[in-house]
């Protein structure tokens, strides 16, 4: 899970050797912070955190924020944003649940169908951005509104439950003490990391994000990069939706309402540049873990849940400030 970075050739000349190290440093810092926070939390709660049930819950509910963060990261890679990730996750969850409950599909078909819906919406986002040349922020703002409506259109405000007991059992199961949904999220993260680090199209995405002009001159289609990034984002939102279906055992149309802000928080804390061209899968996952620890701390200490938002806001800002001062130090 390395941090792929692709600097356009023109810029590379002067400062090439430094950038990978700083990126690594972000990840190291995040790793240190999360380890220290975890140990501190475990110590101050008298080992309560290390009990099997608590520990399992910590990682079970880490899976969705991780995948959602990666969904946002993949569009940030080309310098775009996807405001529809949250509601799209809800839509995919609702559709795969609906297929199982209303249409009687087996989980084995409903899960790929849910992911396919995510892919389709992602593809539409990408094609709209490329075809109309309207800013991606605005396009996904519009599709967010539409998807939000469709999400409630699936089943109103009613709840789906009692679908495929086997699938839910799988979603709550553990292998060697590690929750299956978390393993699934790790696999997804590895695949995404491999995509950006090893595949041609992944590298092209980063090139387009880093410097569109240089990318075009090198024969890369920026339009294709944008479409692929949105497609990947949609697929990952679909995966997150399916994970929710497997984990929670009952879904309704409010799923995804509170996922948009965390989807930005994880990559931004993780050191992903909003301007595009730089991604960090490990950083995003570690950041999602830190945000999750804030949640856990709230539950363990019985703090007013509203403090969580306040703290996460401060952490996002702090992380960005930190990377900013470091960048300035490097520039001098």
């Amino acid at each position: 899970m390395t941090a792929p970075v692709l600097e356009p050739p023109a810029v590379t000349a002067g400062r090439r050797p430094r950038i990978p190290t700083t990126l690594h440093r972000t990840e190291v810092i995040l790793a240190v912070i999360s380890t220290v926070a975890f140990i501190a939390l475990a110590a101050t709660t008298g080992g309560n955190l290390l009990e099997e049930g608590t520990l399992r819950a910590v990682f079970q509910f880490l899976a969705v924020p991780m995948v959602i963060g990666l969904a946002q990261m993949s569009v940030l890679a080309v310098g775009q944003m996807n405001l529809s990730v949250g509601v799209l996750t809800g839509l995919c969850a609702m559709i795969s649940a609906s297929l199982m409950v209303d249409s009687g599909w087996p989980a084995g078909l409903a899960v790929p169908a849910g992911i396919a819906v995510g892919a389709l919406v992602g593809l539409i986002n990408g094609v709209l951005v490329v075809a109309t040349r309207i800013n991606g922020f605005i396009v996904t703002l519009a599709t967010m509104t539409i998807v939000d409506g469709v999400r409630f259109g699936v089943n109103g405000t009613a709840t789906y439950q009692g679908y495929s007991p086997g699938f839910v059992r799988l979603g709550r199961a553990s292998v060697l003490g590690i929750p299956v949904v978390f393993l699934a999220a790790v696999v997804v993260a590895l695949v995404v990391a491999g995509f950006f680090a090893r595949t041609t199209i992944g590298r092209q995405l980063l090139a387009s994000g880093g410097n569109p002009l240089a990318a075009r001159l090198s024969g890369i289609s920026n339009d294709r990069s944008i479409v692929v990034a949105h497609l990947l984002s949609g697929v990952l939102a679909g995966v997150a939706g399916v994970l929710i279906v497997a984990l929670s055992g009952s879904v309704n149309a409010s799923i995804g309402d509170d996922l948009l802000l965390p989807s930005f928080a994880a990559p931004i804390i993780g050191g992903v540049a909003l301007a595009g061209g730089v991604v960090s899968v490990l950083g995003t996952c570690l950041a999602a873990f830190i945000v999750r620890l804030v949640d856990v701390a709230q539950a363990q200490y019985g703090i007013n849940p509203r403090w969580v938002d306040l703290i996460v806001g401060a952490v996002v800002l702090g992380a960005v400030l930190l990377s900013q001062t470091r960048d300035r130090g490097r520039a001098r």
């Binding site: 605005i138 409630f152 996002v316 800002l317």
Partner: protein, 358 residues
């Protein structure tokens, strides 16, 4: 009232489209997005009133719609204030919520009159906005990230404040005059036999904001310098414009307008609650973007923003009368937004192809 500096957007990202620059770049008049908006508005009003004559019912439809438009327009202006810089404010809703809290607190605890409470809210909104602007200029962090983090922070803060000071999620206090703002129109006030038009009392407040922002960006030195900064920050800096101060001022203006929008919404709903502003983010972008304000900065359209807000309110009210569900309404609003933007883009491309550029 399209205002723009003479410069082309230098270094604007590839996907950034100069919609709304029609007036500035000598394109034919039909490339002006505001004209398109007027046409769409006229068609929609004709369709809705044809399908449901109740659409033209004054007390049931037109009066509440004007109140809605007032809120949407002010929210749109709040976003426009920072779009002028090429920045974004994704904390519009929460800034409105914080100032609505301050206003409600002033009424509940300090028993201040209506106007003083409004002023307290505006000051708090402006202060929060200025804080965002100050963080952006002093750190150089992207405005999206700063306001996103601020949004998180304020989300928590607002709930904490309400649970601490109001013992719930809303202040139930009603200062004198709030109910008049909520229910009365000028037709309730008569001088002899002559009564005012059926316009809610909140409309003039929003109108003052619209005119104020329009004058600021068109005639005032500060407004022009903010646009210059948005067009090309480096050039502005080199021309002796205090860029950081202008950024802070634009964000403070945005916060102030958020505060005003929060007040208007609270007045319309009759309660200062934690849910004020929850639905602000989408309309805040709808108005300016439909009206032709650039995301890249350097050009704003105040009239376009009002028209965009009106369009949003007309669609919502019309679909509501046609008994669409809320979720279906969302689908159509999103589709209309996409359609309007695509048509706008198409019109612009056609206009350029006709050799509209000087």
């Amino acid at each position: 009232m399209t205002t723009s500096t003479e410069k082309e957007p230098v270094g604007a990202p590839e996907t950034e489209q100069p919609v709304g620059r029609a007036a500035a770049s000598g394109l034919p008049f039909w490339a002006d997005p505001r004209l398109g908006l007027l046409v769409v508005l006229a068609v929609l009003v004709a369709v809705f009133s044809g399908l449901r004559p109740a659409f033209l019912n004054v007390p049931l439809t037109l009066v509440p719609m004007q109140a809605d438009i007032s809120v949407f327009a002010v929210v749109g202006l709040a976003q426009l204030a920072v779009l002028s810089l090429g920045h974004m404010n994704v904390a519009v809703g929460r800034m409105a919520a914080v100032s609505a809290f301050a206003t409600g607190f002033a009424y509940d605890r300090l028993h201040v009159p209506l106007v003083v409470g409004l002023l307290v809210g505006l000051v708090v909104g402006a202060a929060v906005g200025a804080l965002a602007g100050w963080i952006i200029t002093s750190t150089g962090v992207n405005s999206f990230v700063v306001t996103l983090a601020l949004d998180f922070g304020l989300l928590g803060l607002v709930s904490l404040l309400y649970s601490r000071f109001s013992g719930g999620v809303a202040f139930s206090v009603r200062p004198a005059g709030l109910d008049a703002l909520r229910f009365d129109t000028f037709s309730d006030y008569c001088a002899g036999n002559i009564c005012g038009p059926p316009i809610p009392l909140v409309v003039p407040i929003a109108a003052i904001a619209v005119v104020g922002v329009g004058v600021l960006f068109r005639y005032s030195r500060i407004g022009r310098e903010i646009l210059m900064t948005g067009s090309n920050a480096k050039a502005a800096q080199l021309s002796g414009i205090p860029v950081s101060r202008r950024v802070i001022q634009a964000h403070a203006l945005s916060g102030l307008l958020c505060g005003l929008a929060g007040f208007l919404l609270a007045a319309n709903n009759g309660a200062f609650s934690a849910s004020v502003g929850e639905q602000f983010l989408l309309p805040s972008f709808l108005g300016p973007v439909l009206g032709g304000t650039l995301l890249a900065g350097g050009a704003v359209s105040v009239i376009g923003t009002v028209l965009g807000a009106t369009l949003t309110a007309v669609i919502q009210k019309g679909l509501n009368l046609l008994q669409f569900q809320v979720d279906e309404m969302r689908i159509y609003i999103g589709l209309v937004l996409l359609l309007a933007l695509s048509l706008d883009r198409l019109r612009h491309v056609l206009a350029e192809r006709r050799g509209g550029r000087p």
